[in-house]
Symmetry: C2
Subunit: 280 residues, 2 copies
């Protein structure tokens, strides 16, 4: 449960830090970023997990997401995990959307991935323990993410409703079992038996189980990847199940960090309202 400080910078009265720690789950040293708001000086604060998209590390949203200002106002910590194990000894693929930078938040069961690519367990269990053991946070968690990370946030929350109090997503890969952003990776990591895939498809999981609270989804109307993201599948299930929540189709916005940055305020507020009212 030890971790090493890579950097700590004062930010909005709190601290924007980067840490690394040995990961038993992934078999390598893993890096993550954490924003600790100023309120943590007076006692532990709730945690918002932000899962990043394809090609990202812990750094992208830390630098470009714009969450810190709002997290500092609302008194919640933000954790930015990496999107995969990394390093010379870790399997990889030349494509941007498989291997390092593209863990898809699953536990791989197929070679060469199964040795290190266990991002589902890493997020749900190991990094959660590292964070709660080492940082001034409550064991009260919300989760969000963008694109592949939106997929990760939704599927992880839907399968672990006892561990997360709130969930939202920015432009999530909403139906990966029916998308080229999903079928390729689920096949590589989990094998060709598609019954193993449904645990990693938020549209299927929501149809099966629903979600205990409400859900916030933001999607850019001018997103260049709409055909791969398939928000209509998730929106359809939400409407048919009468699932409380909002699916907001944001006119003119694309898939970039400018979209995330613009609506970071709303998502942080959404989670803060739900996390602060959780008894702990």
């Amino acid at each position: 449960m030890s971790m090493e400080v890579i950097s700590e910078n004062r930010c909005y009265g709190g601290v924007q830090a980067v840490y690394s720690h040995p990961s038993n789950t992934c078999g390598v040293e893993m890096t993550f970023a954490a924003f600790i708001p100023p309120q943590a000086k007076d006692g532990p604060v709730p945690v918002l997990w932000y899962l990043s998209g394809l090609t990202c590390t812990h750094e992208n949203a830390m630098n470009k997401g714009g969450f810190q200002e709002h997290a500092a106002r609302h008194g919640i910590a933000v954790i930015y995990p990496d999107t995969s194990p990394r390093g010379d000894g870790v399997a990889d693929d030349q494509a941007y959307d498989l291997g390092q930078g593209a863990g898809f938040y699953v536990n791989a069961t197929r070679d060469p991935w199964r040795r290190n690519f266990r991002m589902y367990d890493y997020i749900v269990s190991e990094l959660r323990s590292v964070v709660t053991a080492n940082l001034p946070v409550q064991d009260v968690h919300g989760i969000t993410g963008h694109s592949m990370g939106g997929h990760g946030a939704l599927t992880i929350a839907l399968r672990n409703s006892e561990l997360f109090e709130s969930v939202s997503a920015f432009a999530p890969i909403a139906h990966p079992t029916r998308s080229d952003w999903g079928r390729k990776q689920l096949s590589a990591y989990l094998g060709d038996d598609e019954t193993a895939w449904s645990n990693h498809d938020s549209t299927i999981l929501l149809e099966q189980n629903g979600w205990k609270g409400d859900i916030l989804i933001d999607q850019g109307e001018a997103d260049q990847f709409l055909d791969l993201l398939k928000p209509e599948a998730l929106a359809d299930v939400m409407a048919r199940r009468r699932q409380p929540g909002l699916v907001r189709m944001q006119k003119g916005y694309d898939h970039s960090y400018y979209f995330i940055n613009t609506f970071a305020c709303d998502h942080v507020e959404w989670h803060a309202e739900r996390l602060h009212q959780t008894r702990h």
Copy 2:
């Protein structure tokens, strides 16, 4: 006065754009970024210039500065120029603090720099014309910047008080004629006669001429480059001249973009208040 669109992304209801244009002043194609707030749909808006520091391009503050949210709220455009001419045919130096990425906002008079390194004229005259001719902005300008860009903002404003209504800086190189961030570059670009340097030292310019309005300076107390920045020289002159303004020494903050991001809100508000009351 033509320019080419490199990218345009919806951002906080406005547009975050990147443009390029042929520069007569610098003799190469130059790239800059511009945030246009939503209010520009209803008529031209004032301009805030943000000059970046050593090693930066137009991209760094566009992605990490956090100005767009506040500029969208206050209805002002933000222009992010590059910090030097660039390209294979442009002189350079192996050091990070000379040549490409380190223009220091002067007009070089010495070889090999004088052919392209004319960032003073580029900002004050050419890019200003390109911006006002092509973008939905008023000819009403404020200027700020960070580190080398703080030096640029202060010296350009102090020498052109008829062209700028407001000025501020983040951790500026405040007294370059007495700093290793300054003496090396002014010598290379302008030659060894130090009388030519004083036009590019905000401490000297302020002592000579003052500034028509008030000045906002933010400086991190934990800035790793304090000895090179010399805020005490500028603060001393401001106090002796009874120059209206604020010099804020911000406890715990370093030289990073987390510092800039934290106080971007205050600087945008400072400029917006002064620019919106300017008759045009």
